[in-house]
């Protein structure tokens, strides 16, 4: 079936062409002058100015703490179980002062695998993990820096949290086990790290 194209029959004034050009010029000049004098552009000058993220934006994860500073997490493995990307690794341990609940000795999320679905937050019975930090700049030069660990996720640093690679190298003892501080920032092209 062929559909005939809708053709607008041009009037005499439109065929003169010049009045239409003047109309177009008026529109563009209006925009230019408005933007010149009001300087009220929708552009956000990103690295300098940042858009406030909405409250329910799913950013990087954090681990919530109890009043005494310990993490709320009881290492029940619900989040690791429900995670569709299998990016959560928890190593459970026992606290001799607390015979009832377990606690996570280490809690790592591989942000390269995370799909930000938020199931871990929903599955948690203790409200121990949240994605309400509003952090969306999750990047690094090495794979090991893309793993967020317990120390990094617990420490909020008043909203001025550095990237994981900076955090791990500056805060002594915060890096995950086996973290290689000498690793080059750019991976070698021959794949010699057995990736």
């Amino acid at each position: 079936m062929t559909v005939p194209a809708l053709r607008h029959e041009r009037t005499f004034v439109e065929r003169l062409y010049l009045p239409e050009i003047v109309k177009g010029l008026y529109i563009t000049l209006r925009h230019a002058l408005k933007n010149l004098f009001e300087q009220d552009l929708p552009t956000i000058e990103y690295p300098d100015v940042r858009k406030p993220m909405p409250e329910r934006y799913k950013g990087a994860h954090r681990l919530t703490t109890r009043p005494d500073g310990k993490v709320k997490c009881v290492a029940c493995m619900c989040c690791a179980q429900v995670c569709p990307a299998k990016c959560i690794t928890i190593q459970a341990g026992e606290d001799p002062n607390d015979p009832i609940e377990k606690y996570p000795v280490e809690f790592q999320i591989d942000m390269l695998r995370c799909i930000y679905c938020g199931y871990c937050v929903e599955a948690c019975p203790k409200d121990a993990i949240r994605m309400d930090t509003g952090i969306y700049e999750i990047n690094a030069f090495t794979r090991q820096d893309m793993v967020h660990n317990k120390a990094y996720m617990t420490d909020l640093m008043d909203g001025h949290k550095p990237l994981a690679e900076t955090f791990y190298r500056q805060q002594a003892g915060s890096a995950p086990k086996g973290y290689d501080t000498d690793e080059q920032r750019v991976l070698p092209v021959d794949g010699s790290r057995g990736l």
Binding site: L18, I21, G24, L25, I27, T28, L29, H31, A32, N35, L36, Q39, L41, P42, T43, E45, D48, V49, R50
Partner: protein, 463 residues
């Protein structure tokens, strides 16, 4: 042999000045192209490069561009016809610059005897402010201007590349189509002015604004309704000429030679580094020259409306005082605007130690200095020290008239940029259609109407 050293040096200085006139506008235009297009499309445009924290609304990007183009690798593809390939950008650039030599940027600058005595001259020396005073000045522009397409054609052919070749082909076909209408528009103006010398053309447009070419070159219009004929002739000739200038400079509605949608980049696809920069600058130099010629033919050239060269020389002090005391409040307004900009959300969001916090203070200082300079100019005007000297009024007239041409050129080029970001590109057949079936008949009609007007004009002026 007696070598006329003074004339040689004066000619050299004029060459340097006209070169500088064109070349200083080019970076401004590149900046304006970016900023105007950004504002038309509701974007911010260039605003990140800075020198010591001063971003100057993106002007620094132009500087950075120059550095980039100089430093970049100059790739010479192995498959090009080397000799012509090297020549093409040089041809494009030199032709664009040559055209400006016949455009006058002021009436004669008369050096008084006290100055010429410095090198043993006798009596005052009158220096015409135009590099080459050719009898057929406008014909020279037509001749050299059409040579511009040779750069494009050479590049298209020598690149040995299908896209380039198509671009070159389109450029030459377009040139042939639009040169006719342009030539006829110029013929119309010849008939009205009775001369092809650009300095005489500019001189005829001195005085009131209705002496301008677009109004049919009429000394004393009166209230005769026949004046409308002159307006129609001038207006039509201007429209035809201006449209052809767009085609000649390969600007937007007619930039088929580099139509990136179908030809990637057209004729300059194989060029990189400074060779590409030459093509790029040649395009903008063409814009400047095209605007300058249009201003000279239709908008009074270097003349300021209602203020001819004689009036400037007689009222130098008053003009200086008005300019100076008018410049003071203007500078203060700009200073206030610059200082208020520190409250913008952008500066609030910057960390306290960011170098760009200097900006409002810098511009406050600049505009305050400008206000002081304007005040000084006004005081000089009031004191009446300049008007009494022999050289002073000449220099003031030179500065004002060149500035007037400069402003007209800036407006013309702004109009080109404005058009570029408003109108979409023509299709090739539409372009040919417009050139041959619309503009050519209109141009012929305009020439005939101009013949009528030249006769009627005498009757109107006699009345």
């Amino acid at each position: 042999m007696d070598i006329p050293w003074v004339e040689l040096i004066v000619a050299l200085l004029k060459c340097v000045f006209s070169l500088a006139f064109v070349m200083q506008v080019v970076p401004i235009l590149i900046w304006a192209e970016r900023k105007v297009s950004a504002y038309i499309q509701d974007r911010t445009g260039p605003n990140r490069a800075h020198i010591g924290g001063i971003r100057a609304a993106g002007l620094v990007h132009t500087l950075v561009d120059v550095v980039k183009l100089i430093v970049k690798e100059d790739i010479i593809p192995s498959h090009v016809e080397k000799r012509y390939w090297f020549a093409a950008p040089v041809v494009a650039m030199s032709v664009a610059l040559t055209t400006f030599t016949v455009v006058p940027w002021g009436d004669a600058l008369t050096l008084p005897a006290s100055v010429t005595a410095l090198w043993g001259g006798e009596g005052p020396l009158s220096v015409p402010l135009q590099v080459a005073q050719i009898n057929g000045g406008m014909l020279f522009i037509l001749a050299i201007g059409s040579l511009g397409v040779y750069g494009v054609m050479l590049a298209g052919w020598a690149s040995n590349n299908k896209f380039s070749l198509l671009g070159g082909l389109r450029a030459s076909a377009q040139m042939v189509s639009y040169e006719l209408a342009m030539g006829l528009a110029v013929v119309t103006m010849f008939m009205l002015y009775g001369t092809a010398r650009l300095d005489e053309i500019a001189a005829q447009q001195a005085g009131p604004i209705w002496n301008w070419g677009v109004f049919g070159v009429l000394d004393n219009p009166g209230l005769d309704p026949l004046v409308l004929v002159g307006w129609i002739v001038g207006g039509l000739a201007f429209l035809l000429f201006w449209t052809s200038v767009f085609a000649e400079t390969n600007r937007m509605p007619f930039d088929l030679p580099e139509g990136e949608a179908e030809l990637v980049a057209g004729y300059h696809i194989e060029y990189s580094s400074l060779r590409f920069a030459l093509f790029f600058m040649a395009e903008y130099a063409h814009m400047v020259v095209g605007s300058a010629v249009t201003a000279t033919l239709f908008f009074g050239g270097y003349n300021i409306p209602f203020l001819d060269g004689q009036a400037i020389r007689e009222n130098t002090d008053i003009i200086l005082a008005v300019l100076g005391f008018g410049g003071v409040p203007a500078s203060i307004v700009f200073a206030v605007i610059a200082w208020r900009r520190r409250n913008r959300p952008f500066y609030k969001a910057l960390p306290a130690d960011d170098i760009r916090h200097r900006e409002p203070r810098f511009w406050l200082a600049v505009w305050s200095l400008s206000a002081l300079a304007a005040l000084g100019l006004g005081v000089v005007g009031l004191s009446g020290l300049v008007g009494g000297t022999a050289l002073g009024p000449e220099l003031v007239a030179f500065a004002l008239q060149t500035g007037s041409l400069f402003l007209k050129v800036l407006f013309g080029t702004f109009f080109m940029i404005w058009i570029r970001w408003t109108i979409p590109r023509f299709r090739y057949d539409q372009l040919m259609d417009l050139g041959w079936r619309t503009m050519l008949p209109v141009a012929i009609g305009t020439v005939m109407l101009a013949g009528v007007w030249v006769i009627v004009r005498e009757a109107v002026q006699a009345a």
